[in-house]
Amino acid sequence: EPEVTQTPSHQVTQMGQEVILRCVPISNHLYFYWYRQILGQKVEFLVSFYNNEISEKSEIFDDQFSVERPDGSNFTLKIRSTKLEDSAMYFCASSDSGGTAHEQFFGPGTRLTVL
């Protein structure tokens, strides 16, 4: 069964460093998303991406964040200068349609720890 994969499973970094979180969406999907969950808080939408551009982004997704689909398989989230409050579990998701009725398939997440 096709699945979304994410690497690494756990990333530890120093404050101010750049991190890149990687995701491989399901191969025939066209819509991609990043969510995050700070420990004990809600899963929060960060950004959606379609046709090589951002479709929608939340207030959290400021200039420190960027997304990219560098090739036909990977979808990345970059945080340029990490802050302590960026520590969270980051989930990637993909779907075959942008319509709200279509299921989003999630990866297992990357736990980011900023020291």
């Binding site: 959606s48 709200t100 999630f106």
Partner: protein
Amino acid sequence: AQSVTQLDSQVPVFEEAPVELRCNYSSSVSVYLFWYVQYPNQGLQLLLKYLSGSTLVKGINGFEAEFNKSQTSFHLRKPSVHISDTAEYFCAVSDPGGATNKLIFGTGTLLAVQP
């Protein structure tokens, strides 16, 4: 704007007992409703969704949920749980008229099934 409340952070239950996980939402427009499950070290998996029509929705693994518009609730139920149902359960909504199908999640409920 939509929001989702899951009042129970953890629900302990004995094996073969019934369980109900509560979800309430707030929205000024009609919404689509979802329940996702996250097993340890895995991604979020869709259990069931309500889009329209019958208010009782059946999902995978014997779960069902009932949409109650007047109470703005979408509680998840299972008549008899198994040890393998131990997981984190997330309620989510999306806006059918939204630009993208971003999901808005609750904080999750940990279902802990004891033998």
